[in-house]
Symmetry: none
Subunit: 217 residues, 4 copies
């Protein structure tokens, strides 16, 4: 067995081209030839560097989820010294920016996650369990302080995840139909405020944010 360098111009070329094509046409809609052509390398290199098309997929998923989860994990660790709401908001903020900077991967990953391929299932299942664990921690921490108890936690998380992923999944639609650009800073700032509002509504019991000013009941 030969050892393959962790990074080489050819390898990163391939990876970048793959992400771009997966973003546009999906995993099954992209052929290794397409990737090799775009990267201007020989198709054999894909097998050489990534152990096949599937390996390419795994690399993408690992890269994405490793970083994505790190933002959640970091805030879970800060729960001891900080309010849950602040931790939650900070993780939302960081995840949004991370996805904005990696919007190609974000769309591709979240789309592919919705496919029942055994391969994908195996790659992502542990990531999704971690995601669940972290999100639950953050919300439950909040609940034991001052959150609306009545709401089942799963629903909140569904809504949160919806808001976190949707702009990237439908980036093209947003661009073409709504003239809004998910990979621009301006959008992310605005959009973050939306989720912030939602968190406030969700978490706060006695206070309400209306039109940006706090109203103490």
């Amino acid at each position: 067995m030969r050892d393959i360098k962790l990074s080489s111009p050819t390898k990163s070329n391939i990876l970048q081209s793959a992400i771009s094509l997966f973003y546009d046409h999906g995993f099954d809609g992209t052929s290794v030839r397409d990737i090799a052509n775009k990267a201007k390398v020989n198709p054999s290199n894909i097998s050489y560097y990534f152990k096949g098309k599937q390996g390419l997929l795994e690399t993408c998923f690992n890269r994405f989820f490793e970083e994505y989860l790190s933002f959640l994990e970091a805030e879970v660790h800060k729960l001891e010294h900080d309010s849950a709401a602040d931790c939650l908001k900070r993780s939302v903020f960081n995840i949004l920016h991370f996805q904005s900077e990696n919007y190609l991967m974000a769309r591709f990953v979240w789309r592919e996650v919705s496919i029942d391929s055994q391969v994908i299932r195996e790659i992502i299942s542990s990531y999704l369990m971690k995601e669940k664990y972290y999100m639950k921690m953050l919300l439950e921490a909040g609940m034991s302080e001052q959150t609306l108890k009545k709401q089942p936690i799963s629903f909140s998380i569904i809504q949160l995840k919806s808001m976190l992923t949707m702009p990237f999944l439908n980036s093209q639609q947003l661009r073409e139909v709504w003239h809004v650009f998910p990979h621009e800073n301006y959008f992310i700032e605005q959009y973050y405020r939306q989720i912030e509002n939602w968190i406030d509504m969700l978490l706060v019991n006695e206070e309400v944010v209306s039109n940006g000013k706090l109203i103490v009941l």
Copy 2:
């Protein structure tokens, strides 16, 4: 020359199998042979009845969007006699139930919509324009009555669409990770209430819903 019957057991067999496989493996991940095998018919029939794999796709999209949009359109027509909030809520309610009953198509369609295929683009572009138009009508009608003006309409719609589609796109995750079942009535009822809350927050200016009871500021 040849006129093909609008519906026959074989044809509906194919369609149902296709939807199920597209739901699981995506359009590109499904072969016509897979579909024919599942439907227990000859692969040629797919070309015969649907003019190829692509025709199958178009049929699915048309069926889905035609009905999906009908719920929006109907409420737009009712804007004259009814409050915008009520119309919006009713369309949300109907769409959720429609998708819950057709959760296979819903996931498949919303996933595929995020793919940059010229084919798909051509099919859906006019549907998406209609969707934009109807949603805009509903929200703007509300705004001219009592809604928060400051919020750009596009952001509200992104959020609304997120909430409308996400549970179906990630149905499998919801099932496996959160033990929540988007095609069950119980889930839909609960989930509808969530969006209802969000609409209340969005539209109402002077009133706030907290814990289910109205608080007049």
Copy 3:
């Protein structure tokens, strides 16, 4: 076994469409669907009336060769009372006109004859033997009177057949490159004179046609 009418509007429709399509795209390049579409009938009728695509081919070949050979046969019978040269010329004249009137079939048949299909071989072999027999009769009759003996008969026939079939085989080229139209009377008249000259040269020993006037050596 049902008896099928020798001719019906549907049947002759099919035949005509088939000839036209075989003329353009060849036998293998034409599908029964193409034929049925052009004839605006159901494809099943082709099997019904002609016992399949191959039967269509046989019908065409039989029709063509039956008539084509009749012109040769007729002149062979006239050899007793008429000069061989005159008989030969008359058969050439008649064949040219026959092919001119049926130029679609002529091109199709002569092209297909050059294909090594067992099917075609079986259909045409007896026709070609008859053709050989008649042509040989005509030329040998001439030789026993006043023809150039030295020339092997096979070469003469090759040349004669070349001249008889070429304008029809390459009709489209003639039209597009040379602006000459093999199915017009004008062309046939002119072209016939060419072959007449060639026959004169071939047969006559003591006389030579130069510039149209006879020169007695």
Copy 4:
């Protein structure tokens, strides 16, 4: 991206098998599987080396016409120092030998030329224009010296082309019915003399060739 070697054993294997099968069964009557089987290679290689079945066709046509036309072009260039009759005869001689050595391609090409396929039209149209130009040059050069003016040039060329191509188009018939073998030297020598006679008759005004000896009028 990928550069394919101009010739490899596999590639030439494919080409040779293809020519042989096209010769026998025509282009539409031959499948890539047939070719691959005969060449004992994998069918994929045909697409790999020739960019599909059509590419194979183009390669054949280009090879044939390039060389075929070279014989005409060469003689056109010699018109300055040589008599038109000699140039014409030499080109006929060379073309006959070329076709005799490549009788498989010759039959296939001339047969396929008579098919109205857009693909074939595009490949050959420029070749046919060149052919027309060269032949016209050769005949017109002769006319401006001592040729029969009365005869329209197009008819002469039709006859010439008939004689040049017919033995190869109908090679199989010639073999089976006339026991004459177009790819044998003996036949070509004899047949060339025939055409030589025809050229003499065509070009010479004051002299006539009868029985091989010149007769000055």
